[in-house]
Amino acid sequence: MKEKIEKIIIQTLQELNDELERSELENPTSKTKLFSRDGALDSLALVTFLADLEDRLSEEFDTEITLANAQAMSQRFSPFKNVESLSLYIQGLLDG
């Protein structure tokens, strides 16, 4: 399941990058930094990315999933640090 989630995250990032045009997001991998000090996403881009990803995951896994909740978005150890940490976070939510 982890590989499937990562693939969805990467596709969503690439789609968003049509608008953002950031070089770090041209070929994202599991190690791509997202929302960290030198990550590719700022808070405005993160909000859009998570909304897109919520939609895509809900379609793929046929269940509603909320990533952009206040708790996750203000956690000291953010799940949005990189693709891998986000993937693990999503897997945890889906495993419920």
């Binding site: 950031r22 996403l41 405005l44 909304a51 919520e54 909320t66 978005m73």
Partner: protein
């Protein structure tokens, strides 16, 4: 793909309060944020600020024809500050600081409202930003709002956003998603007393 099927919407209240309208307790909250290391490190002067120094600063930097400083209050707590300075005719520079571990989209929402306020209510035509090179996150943040880098030196990037560029960007997917997410959040710009 159907958009916006799941997207979370947050309910809260965001207030922009001129410094001269803050209570003593709110000043203390704002000072704590100004003194956070992560924020001090990005300022031109990184030394810790004392309470008297902060209150003198707040007295000096209210809202007038040259500048406007607001504290940002979300529901019941001060979460940061936002300002426009160096107002000359229809140009100004802007800045924001938000305490860490706050709901991450709030900084974007406050910024969107503030820039909109500057262009539409204050009739600005051009807004500048000066971003330290050691702060790439803030550079990206400004770029997402449409700022472009006009020049750079060893320490800073110098960015600008024209009213025209802002208007062109106002229908961007980034802004639309932000507005949808904060559809249930009310906001208020309080007037200078």
């Amino acid at each position: 793909m159907e958009r916006g099927r799941v997207q979370t919407m947050l309910e809260s209240k965001l207030q922009f309060i001129p410094l001269n309208q803050l209570s003593y307790e709110q000043h203390a909250q704002l000072l704590n944020i100004r003194n956070l290391k992560s924020i001090r490190d990005m300022m031109s002067d990184a030394k810790e600020i004392g309470l008297n120094e902060h209150l003198a600063w707040a007295d000096k930097y209210g809202c007038n024809t040259k500048q406007c400083y607001y504290a940002l209050k979300n529901t019941d707590q001060i979460i940061g500050g936002i300002n426009c300075t160096d107002i000359i005719a229809s140009e100004c520079s802007w800045g924001i600081y938000i305490k860490p571990n706050i709901e991450v989209g709030l900084a974007s929402f406050a910024t969107y409202l503030f820039l909109k306020h500057l262009f539409e209510k204050k009739e600005m035509e051009l807004i500048w930003a000066k971003v330290r090179r050691i702060n790439p996150k803030t550079l990206r943040f400004n770029e997402s709002f449409g700022f472009t880098c006009k020049r750079e030196d060893e320490e800073f990037y110098y960015l600008e956003l024209t009213k025209e560029a802002w208007q062109e960007r106002s229908n961007s997917r980034l802004f639309q998603t932000l507005m949808k997410r904060y559809k249930n959040t009310t906001y208020q710009f309080m007037e200078n007393s």
